[in-house]
C-alpha cells in the first residue's frame, strides 16, 4: 500500500472536517471501549494472563530461529509447503506463482494486514487475477477503493449511508433498484448473497494468520463472520500469509494468547470461530483444500528483533490501543497514512518505512498512556514513540522552528533563574498588551494555535510566583 504518512497534517485537517467520519468515530467509546471494559472484570485472571502473554511473546522473540525451524518442519510433515519471503516483492511473487500454477482467475481473501502491507490486491489485479475480499468490512472498503482504517474493523470510519451507496453502485443489475437498504440487516443480507457465490467459485483462498504453532505446524485464524473458514475450505488451494513473529510455541501458549485477544479486541469472551489448520486435505477427507502453502514474510522484522523497538514484535494486532487512543478517535485511521494506524502504527510505520516518511505519527500522541494500559502484551508504546521522536530530532528531520523552539526551551530549562525572569517579563508584557480585550486572536509564532481559538490574556503573574505566594502548597 502506498503511504501518505508524511502528509499526516493535511490528512488530519481533512478528517476533522469530515462529518460522516466524525459521526462514525463517535461510536467507538460506546462500542469497543465499553465492551472491553465490561469483559475485563468478568475474568479475574485477565491481568495474570496478560503478564503470561507478554512473557510468552518475549520468549518467542528470544528464540525466534528455533521456533521458525520447528514450525516449518511440522508444516512439511503435514504435507504443506513453506515459502520464505525477505521482502514484500518476494511474498507477492511467491503468491502469484502459486495462483498461476492453477490458472487462478479469482482469489477469495480473509482479512489480512500482511496482505495490505505487501499491497497484494493491486498486484494481483495487475496480473489479471481478481481478489475478492470476504470480511464484510474489507469487502465494503474494497468496493470503495480505499484502505482499511482499523486493523480489526476496516470499515469503522463509515456510516451505513455510505455503505448503501457503495452497494447500489457495485451491485447494479443484480438486485431490484427499488430495494430498501436502510437497515444494516438489509446491507448484510445483500453482501452475504453476493459473496456466497464468490466463495464457491474461487480458485484460491488466501488468509492471514493470528498465530503459527511451532509444536503442531498449525496456522490459526480468528474470525466472527466465518468468512476465513469458507475462504480456506472451499478452493483448491489455501495460501496463508503471515509475518515471522506470529509463531508461538505450543497449543497451550496459543490458548493463553487467545484468552487475551478476544477480550482486548471486541470484549467478547471468545471469537465465534477459531480455526487451526494443518496442511492440505487428507486421504478420505470429503472436503478441504488440495494444497496448503504458508508464505512467511520478514519485511524488516528480523532486523527489528535486534533493535530498539523490538518489543513491538509482541503485538497480537488486537486493535485495543487504537480503540482507546483519543487521537485515533478524533482523526480516524486513514490520517495515519499507512497500513497500521493508532499507537501501534505510530511505532511500526516509522520503523518499517523510515522516519522520513513516518516521523509525524509518534508526535500524534498526547502521551496519555491509555494505549499502554490496555495492551494485552504490555508493549511500552509510549517509550517506543518517544524513541522515534528522539531519533527524528537527532537526525534533524523535524522542522527548523520546532528545533529552535526546543533549543530555546532547553536553554531556559537549564537556567531556572533566567527562566523565571524571562517568563515574568513575558507575562507582564502580554497582560499589558491584552488589557483591553482580555484575549488575543492572533499572536506571533502561535498562529497555528490561535487559528482555532483565542488565547486569554494572562493576569499579570507567572504560575511559579502565584504558587510561592500561596505558600507553595495546594489548599
Amino acid at each position: 500500500m502506498e503511504s501518505t504518512s508524511r502528509n499526516f497534517n493535511a490528512n488530519v485537517r481533512a478528517a476533522l472536517a469530515n462529518d460522516a467520519l466524525q459521526s462514525a468515530l463517535g461510536k467507538i467509546e460506546s462500542g469497543f471501549v465499553a465492551n472491553r471494559a465490561n469483559a475485563a472484570p468478568r475474568l479475574p485472571e485477565f491481568d495474570a494472563l496478560r503478564d503470561q502473554a507478554r512473557d510468552i511473546k518475549d520468549h518467542i522473540l528470544d528464540n525466534l530461529d528455533f521456533y521458525l525451524e520447528a514450525f516449518e518442519a511440522r508444516v512439511l510433515e503435514s504435507g504443506g509447503q513453506v515459502h520464505w519471503a525477505s521482502s514484500a516483492a518476494d511474498a507477492r511473487a511467491a503468491i502469484l506463482d502459486i495462483c498461476r500454477s492453477v490458472d487462478a482467475r479469482t482469489v477469495t481473501k480473509g482479512k489480512s494486514m500482511i496482505a495490505e502491507e505487501i499491497g497484494l490486491n493491486d498486484f494481483l489485479e495487475e496480473n489479471g487475477i481478481e481478489p475478492v475480499e470476504t470480511d464484510l468490512g474489507e469487502y465494503i472498503i474494497q468496493l470503495r477503493k480505499e484502505p482499511p482504517s482499523h486493523i480489526i474493523a476496516p470499515a469503522i470510519h463509515l456510516v451505513k449511508e455510505q455503505i448503501e451507496e457503495a452497494f447500489r453502485g457495485a451491485h447494479e443489475g443484480m438486485f431490484d433498484s427499488g430495494r430498501s437498504l436502510e437497515e444494516p440487516r438489509a446491507l448484510l443480507e445483500e453482501a452475504r448473497a453476493v459473496l456466497r457465490q464468490r466463495f464457491l467459485d474461487a480458485d484460491v483462498g488466501i488468509t492471514g494468520a493470528n498465530f503459527l504453532i511451532a509444536a503442531t505446524g498449525s496456522t490459526v485464524i480468528v474470525t466472527n463472520e466465518g468468512n476465513g473458514d469458507l475462504t480456506q475450505t472451499l478452493p483448491k488451494i489455501h495460501i496463508v500469509i503471515a509475518s515471522l513473529e506470529k509463531v508461538v510455541p505450543t497449543l497451550e501458549d496459543t490458548s493463553t494468547l487467545l484468552r487475551v485477544l478476544a477480550r482486548s479486541a471486541t470484549g467478547q469472551e471468545f471469537t465465534s470461530y477459531t480455526t487451526f489448520s494443518n496442511g492440505p486435505r487428507r486421504n478420505g477427507d470429503p472436503d478441504g483444500p488440495e494444497q496448503f502453502h504458508v508464505v512467511l514474510l520478514d519485511n524488516g522484522r528480523s532486523e527489528m528483533l535486534g533493535g530498539p523497538v523490538r518489543d513491538v514484535l509482541r503485538c497480537i494486532r488486537c486493535g485495543a490501543c487504537m480503540n482507546h487512543c483519543p487521537v485515533y478517535g478524533a482523526v480516524g485511521g486513514h490520517s495515519y497514512g499507512w497500513v497500521y494506524p493508532g499507537p501501534i502504527g505510530a511505532v511500526l510505520t516509522p520503523t518499517l518505512l523510515g522516519l522520513d516518511e513516518g516521523r509525524h505519527l509518534p508526535n500524534a500522541s498526547t502521551f496519555c498512556g491509555r494505549c499502554e494500559s490496555v495492551c494485552p502484551v504490555r508493549i511500552p508504546l509510549l517509550s517506543l514513540m518517544r524513541h522515534h521522536r528522539e531519533q527524528a530530532f537527532e537526525d534533524k528531520l523535524s522542522p527548523a522552528a520546532e528545533r529552535t523552539g526546543l533549543g530555546v526551551w532547553a536553554f531556559f530549562a537549564r537556567h531556572p533563574a533566567l527562566y523565571r525572569f524571562a517568563t515574568g517579563l513575558a507575562m507582564r508584557a502580554l497582560a499589558w498588551a491584552g488589557r483591553k480585550q482580555g484575549r488575543f486572536s492572533t499572536l506571533p509564532f502561535a498562529g497555528g494555535w490561535t487559528a482555532h481559538r483565542d488565547l486569554p490574556a494572562p493576569q499579570g503573574d507567572t504560575f511559579q510566583r502565584q504558587w510561592s505566594a500561596r505558600g507553595g502548597r495546594r489548599r
Binding site: K27, I28, G31, E45, L49, Q52, I56, D62, N63, L64, D65, F66, S78, W84, A85, S86, A93, A94, D97, T134, D135, I140, A153, A155, K160, L187, L188, L195, R196, F199, L200, S218, N224, E225, G226, N227, D229, T233, T250, L251, E252, S255, S272, Y273, T274, T275, S277, N278, P280, R281, R282, G284, D285, P286, D287, G288, D298, S302, L305, G306
Partner: protein, 233 residues
C-alpha cells in the same frame, strides 16, 4: 508447482532470513543445552493460568457450558437420552419453518440415534455444497469456559457442514464437556494426531462491521443449535 529458479531463490531467502534473525539474537547456532530445553518446552504441555471459573464438578461444569453457549447466542436443548434427539431436531425445524431435508455428517456415532422413528425427516449424509439449509454434526468435545464446541475434520466430519448451511445443529453428549481449551488439546493428543482442521465454534456467525452493530448470520450459519444429551453421571 514452483519452478527451479524460484525454489533456489526461496532457499536463498530462507538462509538470509535465518542469518538476519540470528545476527539480531547474537548467535550463530543454538547450543545443545538450550535446544534440549526448547524441545522439552514444545512437547511439555505446560499450561498458563486457567480461569478459576471452570474449577467445577461435572454437573455445574455442564451448566456453565450451557450458560456460556447461550451467552454467545447458541440455542440449547437438553434431552434425557439419544432417543429424544430426533424429536428435538423436528421441533427446531418446525420452530423456524425449515422443511425436513437434513444434511448430516457421516459420523458412525450419529447412526446410534434412532432417526428411523421420525420418517418425516429426509436425511442425506456427506459434505455440503452450499445448497443445504440444515447441517447436523457431532463434536469432538465442548469447552465450558466459553461455551465453545470443538470439531475435528475427517472422513466422518466434513468441515463444510460447519459453515455452509444456514442452520448448524450439533448433537453433543454432556460427558463430552470439558473445562478449558487445554483439556480439549490433551484429549485430542491422547486420541491421535492433529486432524487437518480443528474448529473452535462459539455461537453463530456474526459481524460488527456496519457501525459496530452486532448482527448474527454474517457468512456462516445464522443459527447454532446444540442438542445436549444428558449422559453424564
Amino acid at each position: 508447482m514452483v519452478g527451479a529458479r524460484r525454489a533456489a531463490a526461496m532457499s536463498a531467502a530462507r538462509d538470509a532470513i535465518f542469518g538476519r534473525v540470528r545476527t539480531s539474537l547474537g548467535r550463530t547456532v543454538i547450543n545443545t543445552e538450550d535446544r534440549a530445553v526448547l524441545e522439552a518446552r514444545l512437547t511439555g504441555r505446560k499450561r498458563g493460568p486457567i480461569p478459576a471459573r471452570t474449577a467445577l464438578d461435572t454437573h455445574p461444569l455442564i451448566d456453565l457450558f450451557v450458560d456460556m453457549a447461550a451467552a454467545a447466542d447458541s440455542t440449547i436443548e437438553r434431552v434425557a437420552d439419544g432417543g429424544a434427539v430426533p424429536a428435538a431436531l423436528s421441533d427446531f425445524l418446525a420452530r423456524y419453518n425449515l422443511g425436513s431435508d437434513i444434511r448430516m455428517a457421516p459420523d458412525p456415532w450419529l447412526d446410534t440415534i434412532p432417526w428411523a422413528g421420525r420418517p418425516t425427516l429426509t436425511i442425506t449424509r456427506g459434505a455440503s455444497d452450499g445448497s443445504d439449509d440444515v447441517g447436523v454434526t457431532a463434536a469432538f468435545a465442548a469447552i465450558a469456559e466459553t461455551g465453545t464446541l470443538m470439531l475435528l475434520s475427517g472422513p466422518d466430519s466434513p468441515t463444510t457442514l460447519n459453515f455452509l448451511p444456514d442452520n448448524h445443529i450439533v448433537v453433543l453428549r454432556a460427558s463430552q464437556v470439558m473445562a478449558a481449551y487445554e483439556d480439549g488439546w490433551d484429549a485430542l493428543r491422547d486420541s491421535g494426531a492433529m486432524p487437518r482442521t480443528v474448529n473452535f465454534i462459539t455461537g453463530p456467525s456474526r459481524t460488527g462491521d456496519i457501525e459496530q452493530k452486532i448482527l448474527l448470520g454474517a457468512h456462516g450459519p445464522r443459527r447454532l443449535h446444540i442438542i445436549l444429551i444428558e449422559d453424564a453421571r
